[in-house]
């Protein structure tokens, strides 16, 4: 094990940044089954983190299906009221928001979803998703102005308005449809975009274009982006920081460079080892049997580390208690007993450990991509 250099008793300096959208100890429980044997599934388990306005960063959330990453996104979008904990937008609890305040929150926090087919109503032309947004948020005072805004947004994502507007969703390719969704977000000039697997259903050749567009939205317009994905390579390329989720817990988080190229949590290590690298000289190491779940037959319950039954490094305490979140260094936290010497992060806003990219205007490198 690597030595841990620093004990974090006080959070790092970047807590001073004002949070724009903040989760405080958010837990989401989904219950199912009859009352006498009710099952509780903790989709999100005591997560605190925030997206800041300045600097606006790209934060990736990665994990397997069922890890809670999509639920986390839905909570931040206000689609889901968490079982406990608070969601704050500009310091105000979103559950209590009404009227104009709520509309403002809805406008400032936009979503891009995985499936570029099901977000469209097939009976309406593409224009519809723009005109509805313009009418709802009163963005334009005349139809000419509206038209101008729409064309500007569509050009902004690298599509030609003449080839896009007036068409029906089925007449566009999946990649074009997904870029239209990005254009819709662009039209509203939000402060936050929650992008849930935006490229997983798009061909590799278009994936890069869409991700570059997201990067440009962040770098140039200062939109904070939550990039939810199961693909660690795109997360690495696009994001500044990453949170790895496993069964509702954020098990590791920090600067993307460190987390992916030097993973600390045993689950992150397993994930990174499983990335299919596009390089035939770096094939998967033979891990057959070593990491095939279940690694042990411990039945995982709420009071233990969620990864204990699959963990090759499990200690005795892993089955007795849930690990705290430990601060490994300035830009990394991990929820794993292997690092308990590092010191607990006090009621951690994970974002306090995020690395802040130098986002001064001179550093904008994606300008010509818009």
């Amino acid at each position: 094990m690597t030595t841990i250099t620093q004990t974090n008793t006080s959070p790092p300096a970047n807590t001073a940044a004002s949070p724009l959208l903040e989760l405080r100890n958010v837990t989401q429980v989904f219950s199912s089954g009859p009352i006498w044997k009710r099952e509780h599934n903790y989709a999100v388990n005591d997560v605190s983190f925030s997206l800041t306005e300045k600097p606006a960063l790209i934060t990736a959330v990665a994990g397997e299906s069922g890890s809670g990453k999509t639920t986390l996104g839905r909570i931040m979008l206000g689609f889901q009221r968490p079982t406990s904990g608070q969601v704050l937008f500009s310091g105000k609890d979103v559950t209590g928001m009404r009227g104009g305040e709520r509309r403002q929150y809805r406008r400032q926090v936009q979503a891009i979803f995985q499936d570029p087919f099901s977000v469209y109503n097939p009976f309406y032309k593409i224009d519809h998703i723009f005109t509805v947004a313009i009418a709802r948020f009163k963005l334009a005072s005349s139809s000419d102005e509206a038209r101008h805004l729409i064309e500007e947004a569509i050009s902004g994502v690298g599509l030609r308005p003449s080839e896009t507007l007036g068409r029906y969703p089925h007449q566009l390719s999946g990649g074009q449809r997904q870029r239209v969704m990005v254009a819709r977000s662009l039209l509203l000039k939000p402060q936050v975009i929650i992008a849930d697997e935006p490229v997983s259903m798009v061909d590799a050749s278009l994936r890069a274009t869409i991700l570059e567009t997201l990067r440009a939205l962040n770098h140039e317009l200062g939109i904070a982006i939550l990039y939810i994905t199961h693909d660690l390579t795109t997360a690495y390329q696009v994001a500044d920081n990453i949170m790895i989720m496993y069964r509702g817990h954020v098990v590791e988080a920090g600067d993307v460079e460190h987390v992916i190229n030097d993973p600390k949590h045993p689950y992150t290590r397993l994930l990174v080892q499983s990335i299919p690298m596009p390089d035939p000289s770096r094939r998967w190491a033979d891990m057959r049997g070593v990491n095939d779940p279940p690694f042990s037959d411990v039945e995982v319950t709420q009071g233990m580390c969620p990864f204990v039954n699959r963990c090759p490094d499990a200690l005795a305490e892993c089955a007795q208690d849930v690990p705290d979140t430990y601060g490994l260094d300035e830009h990394r936290i991990s929820k794993c007993f292997l690092y308990q010497n590092a010191g607990t992060v006090p009621n951690a806003d994970i974002a306090a450990y995020f690395n802040i990219r130098d986002a001064s205007p001179s550093n904008v490198d994606a300008a010509d991509n818009m």
Binding site: A208, H230, P280
Partner: protein
Amino acid sequence: MAEPVLTIRDLRVYFNIRAGTVRAVDGVDLDIAEGEKLGLVGESGSGKTTTALAIMRMIKPPGEIAGGTISLDGRDLVELSEPEMRSVRGNDIAMVPQAAMNALNPVRRVRDQMLDGLRDHGVNESRNRMQDRLTTLMAQVGLNANVLDLFPHELSGGMKQRVTIAMAICHNPRLILADEPTSALDVVVQRQVMETLEDVRSEIGAAVILVGHDMGLMAQFADRIGVMYAGKLVELATVEQIFANPRHPYTRLLISSLPDTDGKKRLQGIPGLPPSLLAVPPGCPFMPRCPEAMDICGVEAPELIGDIDIVSCHLHTETRVA
């Protein structure tokens, strides 16, 4: 190279729709050697899945195999009657489908579905012998025998995909067609399923055609890679060659668009869209998107050249106009 199991020559699959003829696969030549792992990549609509379906003779109207031959051990599958083809499917060529959740019958236990597959191909042994066979098959794909008594909804995505692999190998086929078998799974399960597929493949000595668009997965699994574009095979070479020295501009762009974790870089997409297969323009189908297009590309379609590493591009033809 070992003796080919399957030889495809000038395969053409057309869909006749009201607007005209869609040339989904248009003149594909392919040899698959005994025990070989061939990756077939391309974007949606490039014809990779249609090629796999044509090998299984599962093209549905309005689609049809409009020409060409598909020979398995010297027998032309295109010419077989439907009953003859039925015995080829499963026995000689098996398929691992893309969406395992839709491939299994939701209201029947795994055991009954697997027994169907065995009986349908004339396996009629005693109850005990059949149960033994199923238990062995389950062990081969790394599943516990008690999975046989479960319904599909009780299985995870990875377990379901292993069940479909077990079904595919139950008659020891010569060739397994796997169409994006892990596209719905996360990376850890994906690796495990692919390892299972590789284990059973080497155990029964089958060849595999892996269809997909994930170049990372191809790099991990395939021996050779065929790149399809607009219904045609544009490059075919060993996996090392494809990644180290791609010759077709499309392959080159495809590989440079792949994200990795070796330092951040500008992600480069491939601008433009593939042509409509209703009216493929004359010349090279990739020309409108090609950064290295020459005059001849718009006039004359490039031939496939080469013996082992094959490429279809005027940059590599003898007659190239300087």
